[in-house]
Amino acid sequence: MTTMTGTSSDSMWEVTTRTIVYAAIGAALYAVAAQFSFLLPGTANVSLRPGFALVTFFGFAFGPVAGLFVGLVGNALADQISGWGLMTSWNWSVANGLAGLIAGVWAASMMRGSNRLVSAAVGSAVAVIVGFLFVFTDIWLGTAESFSVALSDNYLPVVISNVIVAGILTPILVAAWEPMRASMGR
């Protein structure tokens, strides 16, 4: 089973009933929490979604598969609910999924010892910075006309905002979940 202690990285790709249900819950929560989005001032199409912290949190707590699903499906549904469409910005959903996946891998391999909250914040930042490189596909898709637009208008704003979101909210969620997990015997 995948845990936040990182002691069972060999089974982190296992898809159990628990993975399925938690992934579905995370995706639904992310989609619902997207109503608290607001457009980042000065950007073309980047919404600040505080609910993004759920992507990295579910990656940390339930493994890379759950993180991938929460980011990929949750973002697509959030786009759908807001009206943008399920697949209109499919590459951004993939980027969200990659961030969740990287967070899950980080949790399984790096989160050891007593500084788990710090590790969650650092891991979130790494997951966002690496995962969201995928939004440069906007150049190919035509959403961003050039590399400079993709960098200054899409990548940097979303990375900065998501690093702040995940850096603040993910450790809070991890801190709240850790004692619950222990009491549930997970």
Binding site: I20, V21, A28, A31, F36, F38, L54, G83, T143
Partner: protein, 283 residues
């Protein structure tokens, strides 16, 4: 807060199609549209997309807020892209542009090429959104799981998708209940100082209880699935899906569109095209 899936296209021509068709047609369309900048190709494609959308008979009143959101975002994409890129549009150097005037302060040239580019962006994203709407509003929510399972998505993930759609209304209700409870304690999310970061930090008292409560509550669902042997063998679905003759015709048309556009793109025939009328206005 009503974010539950709405089956607004019930009974329409599109809702009677095999739901897999709606997914596949959208995929074909999106990958075709992203290759095209020529308005002469995009215009008929967009017309087809909006006819397709019309066949879902989604009431305008029910989705006008969604369309307003789409219009706002597309406008933003178009305006910012054109303002930032300035003179370099889709391979056009600034000296090749047919310039009408320059914007004050930033000196971005407003040209015939820029207007064509803006028109192409509007058609691309508008038509992609139109093709995506029927997935949300013309597929019965209960068909989501079998649809993806029959599209060769592993059944566990198809089931997770199905569960996600089922969880959305209850998660929204939990979120609203928690927000109401927190407001009684003086909580406000959007009327606090501190700008975006302040608003983000204020989401903690809402997000944490809802998330932890949802995870703890999920144990019942997990137990129920485990007790029924979920994951021990290949899963079957009660809902049978079968392509009809019309479905095959529509699917063939979508694949033909994708193949044709890809061939045109490889031949260099889908690049930005500027109408003579717009060029003549610059003289």
């Amino acid at each position: 807060m009503n974010v539950a899936p709405r089956y607004l296209g019930r009974g329409s021509w599109l809702s009677r199609r095999d739901p897999r068709l709606l997914i596949l047609v959208l995929v074909c369309y999106v990958f075709a549209a992203v290759q095209v900048w020529d308005l002469r190709i995009l215009a008929p494609m967009a017309t087809l997309a909006f006819l397709y959308y019309q066949s879902a008979r989604i009431p305008w009143r029910a989705v006008r807020a969604n369309w307003a959101y789409v219009a706002f975002f597309i406008s933003f994409i178009v305006v910012v892209n054109t303002l930032i890129t300035g003179g370099e549009l889709r391979g056009f150097a600034e000296e090749d542009l047919h310039i009408y005037f320059r914007l004050p302060l930033i000196h971005t040239p407003i040209s015939a090429e820029m207007l064509s580019y803006a028109g192409a962006q509007l058609l691309r994203f508008g038509s992609m959104a139109a093709m995506g709407f029927p997935i949300a509003f013309a597929i019965a929510p209960g068909d989501i799981g079998p649809t993806f399972a029959r599209l060769l998505v592993p059944y566990k993930f198809a089931y997770a998708l199905d569960l996600t759609f089922r969880f959305i209304p209850s998660m929204a209700a939990d979120m609203q209940t928690t927000m109401d409870a927190q407001r009684i304690r003086g909580y406000e999310w959007d009327r606090v100082p501190g700008g975006p970061i302040g608003r983000m930090r204020r989401l903690g008292p809402l997000l944490v209880p809802v998330t932890i409560n949802a995870i703890v509550g999920a144990e019942d669902t997990i137990d129920a699935m485990d007790l029924r042997g979920f994951g021990t063998g290949k899963r079957t679905w009660l809902r049978e899906l079968a392509y009809g003759r019309t479905d095959w015709v529509v699917l063939a048309a979508a694949v033909t569109l994708l193949v044709t556009v890809t061939a045109l793109s490889l031949a260099g025939l889908t690049r930005l095209w500027v109408p003579d009328l717009l060029i003549s206005l610059a003289r």
